[in-house]
């Protein structure tokens, strides 16, 4: 059993997730233990049905484990009520989804500060500037999501994920719907956030190129961690996937 690093900002311990009951039960996670270190960009890879999205959802407090413990910043998510869990997501966690990341009635800037305005807080102007500069939207900040390109929309989503200075950002196939250039820009932005702003990011992807932006990769298959890799390149990831037989 792997031990958990003490400086892990998010961790899962003996995580088991079972959907359904009896004969129809599906074991999505079969007992996963892993910590995610502060200031690291981690990719989770694996074939369809390997449990990578389930793992992400459970880590992020969007779904609950059947057995085991998830902690973010040392807090056991299993002990939280919906209200406290929501508050934790708002203050300690950022999200970037594959699509439908933005509220259509709010403009780009309003979308970015959404987690803060929900909490009734004002953004720290210095941080706000830094994030907005990094998103590189220029004059499109006051535009509605429908007036932005797919890449711009995802960058706005990433900026929103960062605005509350969360402990950790979870990204679920963030570049999945983007062309390769926009995808590269987004992933660059995410890597920069980790390197220069000290963020922690956990990203699910099935694309070796996307995964190669990460510092480390966790390979999942059939609900278990089957391998890890540090300092990946697209080629090495591709080879490892092949070796894993997926």
């Amino acid at each position: 059993m792997t031990t958990i690093a003490t400086d892990a900002i998010a961790e899962i311990e003996r995580g088991v997730k079972i959907y359904g009951e009896g004969e129809a039960a599906v074991h999505a996670l079969r007992g996963i233990t892993r910590g995610f270190t502060r200031g690291r960009f981690t990719a989770i890879m694996g074939p369809s049905g390997s449990g990578k999205s389930t793992l992400l959802h459970c880590l992020a407090g969007l779904d609950t484990l059947t057995e085991g413990v998830v902690r973010i910043g040392g807090i056991d998510l299993g002990t939280l009520k919906d209200r406290e869990l929501t508050e934790l997501r708002r203050s300690k966690v950022g999200f970037v989804f594959q699509a439908f990341n933005l509220i259509p009635t709010l403009n780009a800037e309003e979308n970015i500060v959404l987690p803060l305005s929900i909490a009734g807080l004002k953004p720290d102007p210095a941080w706000m500037n830094e994030v907005i500069e990094a998103v590189d939207l220029g004059d499109r900040l006051t535009h509605r999501p429908t007036e932005l390109s797919g890449g711009q929309q995802q960058r706005v989503a990433a900026a929103r994920a960062l605005i509350s200075r969360p402990d950790i950002v979870f990204a679920d196939e963030p570049s999945g719907n983007l062309d390769s250039k926009s995808g590269a820009e987004l992933l660059d932005f995410m890597r920069t956030a980790v390197k220069e702003l000290g963020q922690t990011i956990v990203m699910v992807t099935h694309d070796p190129v996307s995964a190669s932006y990460a510092d480390e990769i966790v390979f999942l298959d059939d609900g278990l961690i089957v391998d890890e890799m540090h300092g990946p390149t697209p080629e090495s990831v591709f080879d490892r996937l092949k070796a894993l037989g997926s």
Binding site: A60, D82, R83, F95, F97, Q98, F100, N101, I118, R160
Partner: protein, 848 residues
């Protein structure tokens, strides 16, 4: 294809159930009204059939007056009829208006409501006029005995053997011993009227009709041909009397009462159709949203080969099924409503004869047709929209949006509707119908078209309005408020349709509120500047002719508190085929009432009449003209127009007091206006006069201010009743808020999931939905208030000439309705808000 429709129907049970509820309520109103009136009508038919059992011919006055006192004949009538060949027995009848049965607290039973009667009850087995003595009762005999109707006995708690005081307009209050309690068939009274029954001689005495009758019941010898006998009896009758077979009389009397009640039915039907009109907005909106949410599915159907026509019919078929089911439930609910209505009226002391509920085929047919047609008509536009979905929309998200009409086209369409509506309405309001009734249907149609125009326009302003209304809420409720504000404006047509449904009810409520405030304003103005009196005595009897004894004014004139007084009488006359009221004035009336000008003289002779300027103008009369006025007793009389008066207070036809008293056979007063002597307050004078009137409950002594307040209260009571019914339509519209919000929650599942993921908690989620509903409701209420002010203003235009000069906008009351709408919007969004807050975050945001 049908299978697809039905599947879709069952897949969306909840949202269609809400839509159906609107139809159910509308149809229930319609069928309930029909069932109630049919049932009541049948009950009256059977009562009058029974009333004349054993009677072959009815002799009565041939009066055309609705508010008359009846026509009276000499007692010799009985002997004259009895002498006719074939007549077996003649039972004299006598009935009169006005006597009030006094309860144990000294108050007249029935108050100002339905009329009070005194009638003769002979000991005869037949010809009781429908009265049935109950229990230990026996017919009254001699001057000290009385029988009263069961409802009055019940109200006052009188039992046989008790002493019952009765107040008469002419002879004051007398006490009688109760010897019997009478029902009217199974009912305790008829339509709330009270009856005091005496023997014939006593009835004549108390009505001051000594030696007089108002008719007779005739029994024929067995084997006599009734038609022939009717003709023969007719030969011996005096002027003003006529004979009818009892069957005809029963039908006529039942029809008369039914006609009186039909007003009530029409009144309810109007509300039923307003409710259905509101329902059309709901159904239209629901089907539009449902079609929008099913666009991809419909496009897929088109892609796999369904024709446009098939898609169109699949949506209409869905509407048809909803319409039929809802109508059937509505008709059943209507029966419940009819029962509730009867129970409610009984609570108000208006007992109507009970009978088994009558389901006329008409009720079922109209209920079904109305429900189905309303549903189909409302669904037709969304159905056409659905049929226009291109097959490619199944593959491409952005194609799956119907093309919007351009704003200009919408604005032009709205403007055209608006102009047509206003034209229709004013054609109805201002047209010259020469005495014929104002075509309410034309005004109603105009109002409906104006409402549609308002709906069309409201979509144009929905977004900016939502932002304006939502601005303070966005400030107060933070992110949830801001999101709600944006959401309220994001689909203007949907917001407009939801708000417009609320607008309809609020518009009518605002109109009624404004009209009552204006009436109140007019009354205030008249009594403030038009009348110079400190104390006013009025009759508690709405049938002014019974009034109160003239002794009161004579005694009051002698009080030290009283400086001067003037008296007014009132009674029914017919001028140019229309029944109206005539009054009598005393020569000093100008000291009490403001008069702009008098042409000719106000000091009219016994052969003259003083005519109000508006009557003179519309009949093209001038001083010196001879006019024909019909009185109930003496028939058509020719009177000379001796004066034409222009005044806010003195209108219509005024006779000299002597002429009036002789024409109506009564010197009872209808109103007395009193000025206090110096040194006495209005209250002191009122108390002094009230002391004189202690034994005259029908005389209501009030200060000027009290009278104005009382009139205001009466207006408010009617306002309350109408508002209550209209509030029902607002509630139906609010079901639309629930529906729209529930559909919006389904539509925005992913968005709500996202908001929850990034930190919106359940409470904030609920708040977001509730605030949006509140904004939409307030938007509808504001539109409604605006429209209501316009409707009220429009309706007052033709009434200006009738003396309704004041236009009062009751801002407080109208603002209250906007606030109520806002609060109710929140209440009706509780369920969708709860649903939204309970969405599974993960399911909401997962794609594919």
């Amino acid at each position: 294809m049908w299978k697809a429709s039905l599947k879709s129907l069952f897949a969306h049970k909840a949202r269609l159930a809400l839509t159906a509820l609107a139809i159910v309520l509308g149809v229930a109103f319609v069928s309930g009204t029909y069932i109630y009136t049919d049932t009541t009508n049948r009950a009256f038919d059977s009562i009058f059939d029974e009333a004349f059992v054993g009677i072959d011919i009815v002799v009565a006055g041939d009066s055309t007056f609705q508010f008359g006192q009846g026509i009276y004949f000499e007692e010799s009538l009985v002997a004259d009829i009895a002498a006719v060949d074939g007549v077996a027995e003649v039972i004299p009848t006598l009935t009169g208006f006005g006597p009030k049965i006094i309860d144990r607290d000294g108050e007249p039973i029935g108050g100002q409501g339905p009329p009070q009667f005194a009638a003769a009850l002979t000991g005869s087995e037949v010809g009781t006029g429908g009265f049935e003595l109950r229990g230990e009762s026996r017919p009254p005999m001699g001057g000290d005995e009385i029988v009263i109707d069961a409802a009055s006995a019940d109200t006052a708690g009188y039992e046989i053997g008790d002493t019952v005081p009765v107040e008469f307009p002419t002879i004051g209050t007398r006490e009688f011993t109760l010897v019997g309690i009478a029902g009217f068939g199974e009912a305790d009274n008829i339509g709330g009227a009270t009856f005091a029954l005496f023997d014939l001689e006593t009835t004549q005495k108390v009505l001051e009709r000594e030696g007089q009758l108002d008719g007779a019941f005739v029994q024929a010898e067995p084997g006599t041909d009734i038609e022939t006998l009717v003709a023969a009896v007719g030969q011996v009758l005096p002027e003003g009397a006529r004979a009818q077979s009892s069957q005809e009389a029963a039908e006529e009397q039942a029809a008369e009462i039914q006609e009186g009640l039909s007003f009530f039915g029409t009144f309810l039907l109007v509300f039923a159709f307003v409710a259905l009109f509101v329902a059309t907005f709901l159904i239209y909106n629901t089907f539009r949203i449902v079609v929008a949410q099913r666009l991809r599915e419909l496009a897929l159907l088109r892609a796999v080969g369904a024709t446009r026509r098939q898609v169109l019919w699949s949506v209409l078929f869905e509407a048809l099924v909803v319409g039929v089911i809802a109508s059937v439930i509505g008709i059943a609910a209507g029966a419940g409503l009819a029962i509730a209505l009867r129970a409610a009226l009984e609570q108000f002391g208006i007992a109507l004869p009970s009978a088994a509920l009558v389901f006329a085929p008409r009720t079922l047919v109209v209920g079904l047709i109305v429900g189905v047609v309303v549903t189909l008509v409302s669904a037709i536009v969304p159905a056409i929209g659905a049929s226009r979905v291109p097959p490619v929309a199944a593959m491409r998200e952005e194609m799956a949006r119907p093309k919007r009409k351009t704003l200009t086209r919408r604005a032009i369409f709205g403007a055209v509707l608006g102009v047509v509506g206003v034209a229709l309405m004013f054609a109805g309001l201002l047209g010259d119908y020469d005495g014929a009734t104002v075509p309410l249907s034309l005004i109603g149609a105009g109002a409906a078209v104006i409402i549609l125009a308002a709906y069309v326009f409201s979509a144009l302003v929905a977004d900016p309005m939502a932002r304006t209304i939502g601005a303070p809420l966005a400030k107060a409720f933070g992110a949830a408020g801001k999101l709600a504000q944006r959401n309220a404006g994001r689909s203007p047509r949907r917001t407009a349709a939801t708000a417009s449904a609320i607008m309809v009810g609020i518009a009518l409520i605002s109109m009624v509120t404004l009209l009552s405030a204006s009436i109140r304003g007019t009354v205030d103005a008249i009594f403030d500047t038009g009348v110079d009196a400190d104390v006013v005595v009025t009759s508690t009897d709405q049938f002014a002719i019974s009034g109160f004894t003239a002794d009161l004014a004579e005694e009051a004139a002698g009080l030290e508190e009283v400086a001067a007084l003037t008296r007014i009488q009132a009674g029914a006359i017919i001028v140019d085929g229309t029944e109206t009221f005539a009054g009598s004035l005393e020569p000093n009336f100008e000291d009490f009432f403001s008069v702009e000008s008098i042409e000719g003289t106000a000091a009219i002779s016994d052969d003259g009449v003083l005519v109000g300027s508006s009557e003179a103008e519309s009949n093209d009369w001038s001083v010196g003209d001879v006019v024909a006025i019909e009185f109930e007793q003496s028939g058509v009389q020719e009177l000379t127009v001796e004066g034409i008066i222009t005044s806010d207070t003195i209108t219509g036809y005024s006779l000299s007091r002597d002429r009036f008293t002789s024409e109506f056979g009564s010197d009872a007063d209808s109103q007395v206006y009193i000025q206090s002597a110096t040194g006495f307050t209005a209250e002191e004078t009122r108390d002094a006069v009230a002391a004189l009137a202690a034994d005259i409950p029908s005389a209501n002594v009030q200060t000027n201010e009290e009278l104005v307040d009382e009139i205001g209260d009466q207006v408010n009571q009617i306002l309350g009743l109408i508002t209550g019914l209209l509030a029902m339509t607002v509630l139906i519209a609010l079901i639309g808020v629930t529906n729209t919000m529930a559909l919006a929650v389904i539509e925005r599942t992913r968005e709500i999931g996202l908001l929850r993921a990034v930190g919106l908690n359940r409470r904030q989620t609920r708040r977001m939905i509730r605030v949006e509903a509140s904004i939409v409701s307030v938007f509808g209420a504001i539109l409604g208030v605006g429209l209501g002010i316009f409707f009220g203003w429009a309706i007052l235009q033709p009434l200006r000439d009738e003396g309704f000069t004041e236009f009062v906008i009751p801002f407080g009351g109208l603002a209250l309705w906007i606030a109520i709408a806002g609060v109710l919007g929140v209440v009706f969004a509780l369920w969708p808000a709860w649903r939204a807050s309970r969405l599974n975050v993960l399911e909401a945001i997962s794609y594919e």
